[in-house]
Chain length 228, copies 2
DNA sequence: CGGCAGTTTGAGCACGATCAAGCACAGTGG
DNA sequence: CCACTGTGCTTGATCGTGCTCAAACTGCCG
């Protein structure tokens, strides 16, 4: 499917394509296709051959792995404006994770081989990609040491602080974009534990729970709490 | 310091430089310098500006982070033939980890800016780097889910299997290249726990402990044990 | 209404951390 | 040569976090 005008305008601002002139960008957009997914629909599975990578226009994509025992670990939740699976193009050629639409989503698919050809035309394009991958590696390294160095509560706090935005009244609000069990897996605890941790924070007066979003009472205080 | 002949020959086979012709490689080698480190000497610290990246000719480099509480987490142990910190060139420009010589080491330093200029000359060079980074990202992702999905014993087994090599008698041997506490941090447990786990494996008849190297009795059996 | 998925709550347990002590070994200095 | 010190590894006892198993509760959709 070809791209809508609004998608094209949004994609224009993605980090990989900023800095292109109009003609260059048109060449990219011409080769991109649009993919619609319903909630719960799988885009690709772990170990499948790589054909394309994606940019999220709308929705939320869950990247996860499954253990031999059937347990699931959510590696990342990818929201609008972000790329995923772009790193994998240069490896052996198999996706390292499963991808599933957490909510109804619209993606822009960029074909692997033709994207590589496009990259090869200009090293600056490669540099942008390298910078993006580098940033992602930093995030993974952070993830690793918070999994080893910090306890469940700390990781939850970190997650909340990372995902909080001010609402119209200036309060810091966290929108729990995915079901609680998915977020639990994302921060590396079981759903039961997640529930308990959240209620502990409420009882301590740090947050207020309103359905599927939270209000952080005093962000500064929370940041402190992470260290003790 | 300029490079020794043997270092140059070894560097020639590194993944980033394979596929270059003699003249091209010479241009690279001319800009590289040799760095010697004693055991325990720091090469760079977390959050320092990036000036160069490195290739290990000899020795073992420990990449680690420290938490505000002073705890240490070993992210990786980099041995001969591997690069490190090459990804970070393209980011903000600060090292995300500390680097320390675990044993007396000799490194080859490649200057950041001039390496970037060299990369820009040919997109294929970028592609090699991209592939290398991609591989490293896979490893990090694997790391993350083994930290969440598996228990200490499993991670130890995985580490042993990943680091075992056949000796002259055909037995699978693991050389504990770093002090046990460092390996413990690498697999994400405390030294005490590491010691106990290792002895448990010995008592179960899986391995034999000889000073600072282990003999794996039955590799196939171990691989099985990881799943139960 | 019943069935189902997601969430919460409770009770018990296991893994691994913490605190603390002991041991082996190497290096240092009297 | 022997105490003294420091370091790395081991062992023991205790404790806490978070998992497991199980049950109840919620909202939602057929």
């Amino acid at each position: 499917m070809t791209l809508s005008v609004t998608d094209i305008q949004a994609l224009r601002r993605a980090y990989l394509f900023s800095g292109l002139d109009e003609a260059e960008f048109k060449a990219v957009a011409a080769r991109a296709t649009s993919v619609g997914l319903e909630a719960g629909q799988n885009l690709f599975f772990q170990d499948q051959p790589v054909t394309a990578f994606y940019w999220v226009a709308e929705g939320l994509i869950r990247l996860y792995r499954t253990s031999p025992q059937g347990d699931e670990k959510v590696i990342d939740l990818v929201g609008p404006g972000r790329f995923f699976a772009e790193a994998v193009l240069f490896m052996g050629g198999r996706y390292p994770v499963n991808a599933l639409a957490q909510t109804p989503s619209r993606l822009i698919a960029l074909d692997g081989p033709s994207f590589k050809a496009w990259l090869a035309e200009d090293a600056n394009r490669c540099f942008r990609l390298l910078a993006g991958m580098s940033a992602r590696m930093h995030k993974l390294v952070n993830e690793i040491d918070s999994l080893t160095l910090m306890k469940g509560t700390d990781r939850l706090l970190q997650y909340l602080l990372d995902h909080s935005d001010p609402d119209e009244q200036g309060r810091m609000v966290v929108d729990l974009e995915a079901p609680k069990q998915v977020i639990a897996s994302r921060i590396g605890v079981k759903p039961e534990t997640f529930s308990r941790l959240l209620h502990k924070l409420r009882d301590m007066g740090f947050v207020e729970i309103l359905d599927n979003h939270l209000v952080i009472k005093d962000p500064e205080q929370l940041r402190q709490a992470r260290i003790d």
